[in-house]
Symmetry: D2
Subunit: 270 residues, 4 copies
């Protein structure tokens, strides 16, 4: 008896030991998410150079760097991990799908399990970094990422305060119709030369926020050599060379996120 795939099940390599584990307590919920979100305006032309068609820079060339410390994640049996994700505000102008939202430039995570699932099932360009839990001292939130001992980025948010009613309303309006996290799912042919899969994807999620504070954010991208970070230096340097023309208000939130929406699964955009 050899192994055969069940066409109704979901698999990842190694597939031959059976489908991705299911469990009654599993779900898409990340129950305890603490996030630092820092957005800034960058150079429109320089940003556009990293967007594959039919993605275009949105009205404003906004880069958003998000640190999230997630705990009590159901599909990881209650374990957690940290990430630092980088997105650009974009419009996807496809033949069928025209959507405003965010294009994921890169996501560093400090746990391999979600890196594999995110890359292969959703087209999220996740890669590894050491990301310590954020520190909080003197009212200032800080964290960083590094790989092979070499720093990739420092980020911090200071001078936190409660948002005003007007700010909350403005924030909700700015999100209106733009809560569409997108990316490009690229997989090479076996051997690495040629393209096997190259498609735009949309990976909806849903968040509830229990606490929100506004502050002044700062990101400090490092420049790296091949010797320091042979698999990622070109990514870090590209981000370091996108100018920071001005910061938007930074945000610290606590809440929950659900990555598996039964009515809106990850799908390919046309």
């Amino acid at each position: 008896m050899s192994f055969t795939l069940d066409p109704r099940a979901s698999y990842m390599m190694p597939a031959h030991f059976g489908p991705r584990p299911m469990h009654p307590n599993s779900s898409g919920w990340y129950h305890d998410v603490t996030a630092m979100t820092i957005s800034y305006i960058t150079d429109r032309e320089k940003l556009a150079a990293y967007l594959p068609a039919p993605y275009e820079v949105d009205e404003e060339a906004v880069i958003t760097v998000t640190y999230a410390c997630s705990k009590n994640i159901d599909w990881l049996a209650g374990h957690g991990y940290n990430l630092i994700g980088v997105t650009a505000a974009v419009i996807h102008k496809g033949e069928k799908d025209t959507l405003r939202g965010t294009y994921t430039l890169v996501v560093w995570e400090n746990l391999t399990d979600p890196i594999l699932a995110g890359r292969e099932l959703q087209g999220i360009p996740k890669i590894y970094a050491d990301i310590p839990d954020h520190s909080l001292i003197g009212g200032k939130w800080r964290t960083n990422a590094s790989h092979f001992g070499h720093k990739i980025i420092d980020l911090s948010i200071d001078n936190l305060r409660a948002p005003t009613e007007a700010e909350l309303k403005l924030g909700a309006e700015m999100q209106e119709g733009r809560d569409n996290p997108m990316g490009c799912r690229y997989l090479a042919a076996a051997g690495g030369f040629g393209t096997a899969i190259n498609e735009a994807t949309l990976f909806p999620s849903e968040s509830t926020v229990s606490e929100v504070q506004l502050g002044e954010g700062k990101v400090d991208w490092k420049h790296l050599t091949w010797e320091q970070n042979p698999t990622q230096f070109h990514i870090v340097n590209a981000l370091a060379e996108l100018p920071i023309l001005g910061y938007l208000p930074a945000v610290v939130t606590k809440g929950s996120t659900n990555l598996v929406l039964p009515e809106r699964f990850t799908r390919t955009l046309k």
Copy 2:
């Protein structure tokens, strides 16, 4: 100017920052590899249940567990990592390609970078585990793997001695025509349901051995729950339930390995 792929280059996600980094000092060489290799006979029928067609169990149902501690890896700018790989002796009986070799059941590695490249470019089912450097005390070599603090496997080799001429000759003969590492490159469609890529792959490599010792090996697979290792428990339990019907001589080697053979790239088997 938007991003476009160079058809002659090799990419991995995120592709939009450019091809996989090249460097004059990069190559496929792993210059300093210390390995413990432990093989055992298992139940033929039980093993066959994990092999997708057209893979079949070879004459003998042999499982091989290999721990490798690699240093001075050129493509990682001289860094290293540890792995524990599990293969089965198989024949690939395809329409075009009939080959004896090994089918990779799973590989645990303690560094994400080679996990991503191995999965996506070669179809090697690599996943993450904490794998300490081997210890050597009282003449006994030991190592282990664990994830989320829960042990996956203990392995050890004891009573090491130099091989005889006859053993070296026999070992070379047994390898003859069987040095074909193979696997199954499986990638789901976006969203995780349905199959995008499902193909047998061959990923040749070349090793030179500077030291070799024979000994008595032992592997001790653990049983795990979903709560202990939600992404891998089914893999570990499947391996733990393959009976160990007898050990072959275990081997400790030091040497070098080249994973990029210009004349024999990773390719799809038909």
Copy 3:
């Protein structure tokens, strides 16, 4: 100009670079502490064998295992760490000081900085282990500790519920006059043979609790060999051999702790 000690300052090795760093934002506060506390009755005689005079087992032979995940620690500039501590309910019957409280049998921590300070300045027998953040799934809290890849302990609390008024009152009464964390500060003479310091210490702290839940706890001590954990196996085995004769209600709390009380510093007991 050579280095001289300032008699008014506090030093740790290396002392010659100056006193322990002070900073306006530093303090003894651990602002965000999540704890799992599991107590059980053990054999009185067996426990007594580990207590140096003038410590004696209290009315009941209670062992308490506490996991604490601490964040936003002021003296660590807002960083955090995890610990698993083991104490026994004791009476210190000294010539001058008679006190009921807890005797610290051992504390594992996953960060070296507080291990050094706790050992040298307070006489808390801290040692290192890998301690992941607790997981929470299906209402059950779990964590574990391991070293060199080998498990030391699994602990969990299940079936959590709010305490009744009567339980809260009883809990407060049982703490009354017993909130005295104590230990034995032992330091060998240079070279390791002979005793340089051997004294009972009291290291008061102060906690505020913002959330409390009661549940059913479980601890599972492992047995280890010298080869698995050469510096700690005797500690783990001793604890594993203390029988669990019955559990008390386990507690999950969130709150804050201050380890530096200006009016009640760590001191030696007589």
Copy 4:
């Protein structure tokens, strides 16, 4: 029956579970040590400010930074660890003991067990850092240390070559009578104020070298803030401010080291 110390045994906290474990396979041998040693001349007055009497700067104000990657350590049951140590060339001009050798300014190690033993039993000022295994690419050896994600030091050795006979002879002569590793064992009184132990120590070891290469070394100390490294920033900054007035030839070695010499134990200097 309470716990009592055996006066003939060697203990560390927690002492009440018995003496430091002994095992037939244990010894002071580090069987596989790969080291990078980089020495430089610094400012005599500035260095003198960190030496407690009766230590004095030797004829030349030489700082030596040594990275050692040790494997197969007997007392750790065959496990290993990495360190970066910093010493100064000194003369101990005591009332009884006048010795030329090295004064240990600080040692970073990536494993807590030897940190505790080194501090408490020998007076070696060991503290923790993340220290990756060295990388070797393009003939250049590199490593680094960091803590909480913030870099402490980068070090490298390039242009390696075999030493000449004259160089080997000179090296041996320069070591003659100076192979005396020394330090200052400082332990505060309970509570951290006042001095309990303050003594010069000598901790002899013995090394055999199987390979040696000479090259050009470079060290790059970083400047850190309290927020980045609250327990060590003052140490790193002090070292960063000692000028590098010129490098001596750097050395890469492989060999073995024995830290327990039966005839020459660690002892206090007078």
